[in-house]
């Protein structure tokens, strides 16, 4: 059987750093040499060719940072390079993250010509004051315009929104979300604002300068999100992801089902497997400059390359799969060598936190359980 692989390419630069963001994204202090970046990416891809060779590529994802700052020609040449190593097919999902600034929307058409067929636009909010507070440099109007253009060029358009923002109440979010849904994108990622370590938001939060909705409001917001999306015929297929039928993000689904992927670029993680060998975890050097140096010196940037134990694979499968609508497949978990704690599971089922799929093959969180997913996860297996 030909195994499937996803490829992630990380572009680590942004025009400005958003105060809530803990992604590996940096504001470059000089003009970025994109040709050089391309060479480094190609070298790193080649180094991992043994994991890529002749596999069917189910998805490619250009993430960041702000990958829409890349010249379309760079994207094109990365894709060309990849197609020399593996099978990129018509149904390979190729996503790019984009910020809705005026420079970038002008390039949407060129991107679509490179083969990108899915775009994920970081809209974050449709309220201009809130966009300012989030440190965003675009307006809601521009974001809406970007969506319109994107819908012309890409088979699938997704938008990211951050909710449960400081001062946001149910009514405001409901209106904002309904407005976003009326734009008719195929996919939405709706994230509750998280205070991430070492961000400006963390400082503000700790010093009491921003307040988040309390637990019961944030619960409320989470629940109305699902209800409203449901009304617009968008299905929740993961904790924070909603789509029209058939437009689930294949790339992320692969992460959530413990698949294989190769991560290229600074700080990228991989889960790979050679034929008849064990699944490995690779982690690249995080700092963009050091990442480049490492590739120049060694041909790769890995700072970790280790075999995952059975238990680690099981754990990853639990933490990822339980986030999804399909849930955890008992059979698959057992094939990984795992043993579920049925006492705990049955208790959680009788208390309404978990349910079994109709076929009895999967275990998944209920609406009630999905709110406390992290607590539940830790009692599924010993």
């Amino acid at each position: 059987m030909m195994s499937e692989l996803s490829i992630y390419i990380h572009w680590p630069y942004c025009l400005s750093k958003c105060p809530y963001c803990d992604f590996n994204s940096h504001v470059a202090d000089k003009k970025i040499d994109q040709e050089e970046f391309l060479e480094l990416i190609k070298t790193e891809i080649d180094y991992h060719s043994k994991y890529i060779d002749n596999k069917k590529i189910s998805s490619i994802f250009f993430g960041g940072g702000t990958p829409s700052l890349m010249d379309p020609s760079i994207i094109e040449r990365i894709l060309t390079h990849l197609s020399g190593l593996c099978n990129i097919e018509n149904d390979t999902e190729i996503t790019m993250e984009a910020n809705p600034t005026s420079v970038e929307l002008q390039k949407f058409r060129d991107y679509s010509n490179t083969g990108i067929n899915r775009i994920s636009i970081g809209v974050q909010s449709l309220d201009n004051d809130d966009l300012k507070n989030l440190g965003r440099t675009h307006t809601a109007e521009l974001a809406i315009e970007a969506i319109g253009i994107a819908q012309k060029y890409f088979e699938s358009v997704s938008i990211d929104l951050i909710y449960a923002r400081p001062g946001q109440n149910e009514k405001a979010w409901k209106l904002e979300l309904e407005r976003a849904l009326s734009l008719q994108t195929q996919h939405l990622s709706l994230y509750q604002l998280t205070i991430e370590p070492n961000t400006i938001y963390e400082k503000l939060y700790k010093s009491g300068k921003i307040n988040l909705p309390n637990e019961s409001l944030s619960n409320e917001l989470y629940q109305i999100t699902e209800e409203i999306c449901h009304k617009f015929s968008l299905k929740k297929y993961e904790i924070s992801n909603f789509s029209k039928r058939g437009f689930e993000c294949k790339h992320n689904l692969n992460y959530w089902s413990c698949g294989e992927w190769i991560g290229i670029g600074p700080g990228a993680h991989s889960r790979v497997r050679e034929k008849n060998k064990k699944r490995r975890s690779l982690i690249n050097e995080y700092d963009p400059y050091n990442w480049g140096q490492r590739i120049r010196n060694y041909g790769h940037s890995m700072i970790e390359n280790s075999v995952l134990t059975d238990e680690e694979n099981q754990d990853e499968y639990i933490v990822m799969s339980m986030r999804t609508r399909a849930g955890l497949n008992i059979n698959k978990f057992e094939k990984l060598g795992g043993k579920l704690n049925m006492d705990n599971i049955n208790l959680l089922i009788s208390n309404g936190y978990l349910s079994r799929s109709k076929t009895e093959e999967n275990i998944k969180v209920t609406k009630k359980g999905s709110l406390v997913c992290d607590s539940i996860i830790s009692s599924l297996a010993d």
Partner: protein, 608 residues
């Protein structure tokens, strides 16, 4: 084998000096013993390591002596006379006061070491009183005179004032540099009395100590009073008439030196195919197997554990390992008692008895370190005497076993006589502490700027954290010693801690009614911080009988889901789960609630 006919001076009692070194902790007892061994040539320079007599790793590390050891040294005096000096080292902590007494009983004199930069401390006093009770001649030594802060004159005045010892012959030394050590050795031969005894009489010896040695088996330390103990001799123990044949006999110099016999006044060891250390009761009298009508020597009262607590493995699968560790440790420590017990919260474990909190801590640390077992300890408890309505008296070691209230006529608890010496500026705070612990002041005197206080305090108020408190309040300057005084009836109650409506046995404790509410509240607040939130809310209560005296609630987790989870997050999320699972393994399920192990320990270390 390095063996010879007998010790060199063939029962010449006038050339033997048996003595102990007594001192408050850290005043330099072990260092002085090292110096004496070194100067008399007991060990070559290259064999010297610090604190030769503190042989256990833990003793060295904590710098305290736990078990008494003896050493036999040769010393040629200025008058060119050859002396045998037998030193018995004494433990330096209150918990081991009984062992101090055992060491003292085997000698005729003591060297009292007082740190010339510190002065008299509580254990200095306690030790001197024990020496006097044993009719010892006492040589006063002021140590650490090399230190700039040393003030021998002031300290001498204090010794006269507080203890009432004459210091006109006091010797100033530095155990560290060796200054004054020769002078001290001369004074030992001149001032300390030789032992008395008659070699022609029937064998009569005191069993001073016994321990298990991997090479020799059970080793017995003895002090011979009359007659002698010979290789091959058949001896018997007076307490139970058990007989043994002496196999090896010798002294520690401090290396073992095998001899053919030990004569009167001598201190040495023997082996005799003895199965268990517990067969050798410390304080017993040893005589010849054929001897008739021999009167027992004044033994000393056996050491009774006064503090009890449950020890459980954190990981239930470690129970076998714990049993092994406890059995092995008790081999060498007759004062450490144990008995199997089960706790609903903690599973299988042992209820153990200790001489005091330090003893408890040392045993726990050794189990952790030498046997690699993580422990949960339950609340330390003292022995209560429970008088029931049917006129029975129960000795209660475990609060869980307290009979129902209607069957109890009264409960008596043990009290201690505590002596505390503290610089004046901390006196107020220390008195307050004693009062809070239901103490009754007996005496309060001053010597220079230091207060000498005696209090009667219930032992159960001391076992938790009294010593730590005392030290922290006084920035380490207060010293403390105690002895068990008497039992007295008190208004004591069993306080239960209920987690999610179920009583947690490991947290039950007996407390005085007047402090119950405060303690209950503190423990519950602590638990509230330590028990993680669950999917349901958890009521926490402290209760006496059916009456709740304090309550708190741990609210339910209502939302904890992570919003975003990308490919790069999988490692982080997995590690989080691994950590959670590891944490869970260290938790005990109590009803529906998982209680982390550290909650048991921390709840009891709560700041009252």
């Amino acid at each position: 084998m390095d063996s010879q006919k007998s010790s060199d001076n063939m029962h010449n009692l006038s050339k033997i000096r048996n003595f102990s070194i007594i001192a408050h902790i850290d005043h330099g007892k072990s260092t002085l013993a090292d110096r004496l061994i070194q100067i008399t040539g007991g060990l070559e320079q290259r064999e010297m390591k610090d604190q030769v007599l503190d042989s256990m790793e833990l003793e060295r590390e904590r710098g305290i002596t736990i078990k008494a050891q003896s050493v036999s040294l040769k010393y040629k005096s200025n008058k060119n006379e050859e002396f045998t000096l037998n030193i018995i080292d004494t433990p330096g902590h209150v918990d081991f006061a009984y062992e101090v007494n055992r060491s003292l009983a085997a000698c005729e004199g003591s060297i009292l070491v007082v740190d010339a930069s510190q002065g008299v401390e509580a254990q200095t006093l306690a030790n001197v009183y024990q020496s006097i009770a044993n009719n010892h001649e006492i040589l006063v030594v002021l140590n650490k005179v090399d230190l700039p802060a040393a003030d021998p004159e002031r300290v001498k005045a204090q010794i006269e004032d507080v203890i009432g010892l004459d210091t006109s012959d006091a010797i100033e030394i530095s155990a560290k540099t060796g200054f004054g050590i020769n002078d001290l050795l001369e004074k030992v031969t001149e001032k300390l009395p030789p032992p008395s005894g008659d070699v022609s009489q029937t064998t009569k010896a005191l069993l001073v100590d016994s321990w298990y040695d991997t090479y020799l088996g059970v080793v017995v330390l003895v002090r011979v009073y009359d007659g002698s103990i010979k290789k091959g001799q058949k001896i018997k123990l007076l307490s139970n008439a058990a007989t043994y044949q002496i196999e090896r006999i010798g002294v520690f110099q401090p290396k073992q030196k095998m001899l053919d016999e030990l004569g009167p006044g001598e201190i040495g060891f023997f082996t005799a195919s003895i199965k268990q250390v517990s067969d050798m009761r410390v304080g017993d009298t040893i005589t010849d197997a054929k001897a008739q009508d021999i009167a027992a020597l004044d033994g000393f009262k056996p050491s009774q554990p006064v503090v009890f607590c449950g020890l459980y493995p954190q990981d239930t699968s470690d129970f076998e390992g714990l049993r092994d560790a406890i059995e092995k440790l008790s081999l060498n420590d007759a004062s450490f008692q144990y008995e199997k017990e089960t706790s609903a919260a903690l599973g299988l474990g042992y209820r153990c008895g200790f001489l005091g909190l330090l003893h408890l801590e040392i045993i726990c640390e050794r189990i952790d370190r030498e046997y690699n077992i993580d422990l949960v300890t339950t609340a330390p408890s003292v022995i209560y005497k429970v008088h029931t309505t049917d006129s029975n008296v129960i000795e209660l070691h475990n609060p869980v076993d307290l009979p129902p209230q209607e069957r109890i006529a009264k409960i008596e608890e043990p009290w201690i006589d505590a002596s505390i010496i503290v610089p004046e500026e901390y006196l107020g705070a220390i008195l307050k502490l004693c009062e809070e612990r239901r103490g009754v002041q007996k005496e309060l005197n001053f010597s220079g700027n230091r207060a000498v206080i005696t209090y009667q305090i219930p032992l159960n108020e001391v076992v938790f954290d009294f010593y730590d408190k005392l030290k922290s309040i006084s920035k380490g300057y207060a010293s403390f010693d105690y002895s068990i005084a008497n039992y007295d009836a008190s208004d004591l109650v069993k306080m239960q801690i209920l987690v999610n409506e179920e009583s947690v046995d490991a947290l039950a404790m007996i407390v005085h009614r007047s402090v119950a509410e405060n303690r209950g509240r503190i423990i519950i607040e602590k638990l509230k911080d330590l028990i993680p939130r669950h999917l349901f809310k958890i009521p926490l209560q402290a209760a006496i009988g059916g009456k709740v005296i304090a309550r708190e609630t741990i609210s339910a987790v209502r939302k904890d889901v992570t919003a975003k989870c990308y490919g790069g997050d999988v490692t982080r999320k997995r590690k989080l789960l691994e950590k959670q699972k590891k944490g869970k393994k260290k938790m005990r399920k109590y009803g529906k609630v998982e209680i982390p192990q550290e909650a048991f320990i921390a709840a009891l270390k709560a700041d009252y």
